[in-house]
Symmetry: C2
Subunit: 133 residues, 2 copies
């Protein structure tokens, strides 16, 4: 339970890889080979990281992806949310009106608290922390 998808694990490995490049471009293929990730699959992942503003990209020859932020400024939560979207232990944490039991839904506070605990942990660790172990 609460397993982290391969996609997210790949994203984290790719980001640690890019972090070592200190702003230089690396292609999707290079990262895939360095980190042992299916190349074509990684393409989609890198695109999501870009949409989230965590990396920058350039097309064509000499293109690739590069890190635009300092690894210490990238929260692990940023990476996770870039890939998976907002964390929702149950669908109703965002929309109380979905609660089958109405406004008096008892477990709701519990789930909201769980989300806060997970978000909290992920937000207080940066890519730099993880890349350095």
């Amino acid at each position: 339970m609460f397993t982290v998808s391969a996609k997210t694990q790949y994203a984290i490995r790719a980001m640690t890889c890019l972090a070592k490049m200190e702003g230089r471009y690396a292609t999707s293929l290079e990262i895939a080979q360095a980190e042992n990730i299916p190349a074509k699959y990684l393409e989609g992942i890198m695109r999501r990281l870009k949409v989230a503003g965590l990396v920058d990209s350039e097309r064509g020859k000499k293109g690739g992806y590069r890190m635009v932020l300092d690894p210490s400024a990238i929260k692990m939560l940023d990476i996770v949310e870039a890939i998976e979207g907002r964390i929702k232990p149950v669908t109703c944490v965002d929309k109380a009106e979905l609660c089958s039991m109405g406004a008096a839904c008892l477990p709701r506070r519990f789930w909201v608290g769980l989300k806060a605990a997970i978000d909290g942990y992920l937000a207080e660790h940066t890519l730099k922390d993880v890349a350095e172990g």
Copy 2:
């Protein structure tokens, strides 16, 4: 991401329902109707809760399930683990030898910490807390 399965949510609702019964027996069907859970599906869930020692059961007429512990003594982690087994954000948190990157696996500490954060939250909230909101 980190979504809680329907099975676990059902289990929690069923436990809060039983908690209100103060030790009296309730049948699987009664709980299902009270909590709006597919009856036949709930049977398997109740059985797991029993195996975990969280409830007691009696077969035949007048049978059913009953709470044997004080709700304040039941950690939410107990319920979650009864249904889902140990929480593992990544498979290698339990077995470091599985780490694709060997002993020097950098993200490992991060995942172990995440598990600790989730387990911690779930262990410091009891069924009583949740049942009362």
